[in-house]
Symmetry: C2
Subunit: 142 residues, 2 copies
DNA sequence: GAATAAATTTAGAACGATTCTAATAAAACT
DNA sequence: AGTTTTATTAGAATCGTTCTAAATTTATTC
């Protein structure tokens, strides 16, 4: 009963995003949204999925991550040139980035106060503020 | 006399960075540091250099940008997955990023106050804080 | 100022992440 | 079930970037 309930929630999540609940999308959504917050790359998710016995192509992983992002289920993060991370936490927050390990950790939004910004050009508006605190030395000890 | 003075400054700059003042490095340094602050990609700088009649290979543009960055003459920015920008302003500041045009603009450091950060792991220290204010709609009008 | 040593540049190959393509398969609708 | 629509896939293609090994330039030594 427990698992079935979770499966239904995941199915609903995918449906609500306007996407057909295919085996691949459900597997990926399960991996992404069943635990706590995650910061994961396409390649990592692909490997994890195969590791769990859910076969998916890398192309589908990319498609799915983008569809989930467009639907507001994920947020895409650019920290490092050359690869994108996807964050399952889509609420307002920022990031600590451990340069050595590549690990990302959330930072509460209220640790940061943005003062007066420069005037934006006519018709422009802020779509998002990304704050990345880059940390050197020291991996996953805290 | 004017131009010669500028050329000497550029030569000194390159020397001070511990690099031999080759034709290529001087041309690129000239393009980078003779105007005001710039935010430029390797491909853009390569195109600009060729356009001015200074032939350089793309490999050399990359090498040079990295050497200048290591020497503290440039700062590398990651805004957009898949390409790096290099900023000639290496003082403490942040960025406005126009998503439509790809344009970057500096934001003074004192527009932003960082409150209490989460405790860092033993031995870790902050190497840099990057703040990117992403703006939609509206190009270079202000 | 030629000879030698050391650093630089280069074209093109190689690379890793991502996107595209066109064919096949699965899901939804009638 | 049959038809239409949407998804998945393997593999090719693309993009920005890095690597390689050879050719050139700059610095140093005599």
């Amino acid at each position: 009963m427990r698992q079935a309930a979770v499966a239904n929630e995941i199915t609903e999540l995918v449906r609500t995003a306007g996407l057909r609940p295919t085996r691949q999308r459900l597997s990926l959504a399960g991996l992404l949204f069943s635990g706590g917050g995650r910061h994961i790359t396409a390649e990592q998710l692909h490997a994890e999925s195969l590791g769990e016995g859910f076969s998916v192509s890398l192309a589908t992983v990319y498609n799915t991550l983008h569809q989930f992002t467009t639907a507001g289920l994920l947020r895409e993060l650019v920290v490092d040139s050359g690869r994108s991370y996807f964050d399952t936490n889509v609420s307002r927050h920022h990031h600590l980035f451990f340069e050595d390990s590549g690990e990302l950790r959330d930072v509460s939004d209220n640790s940061v106060v943005i003062g007066d910004l420069p005037a934006l050009p006519e018709g422009a508006s802020i779509s998002r503020i990304d704050i990345i605190i880059r940390v050197k030395n020291g991996g996953s000890s805290g």
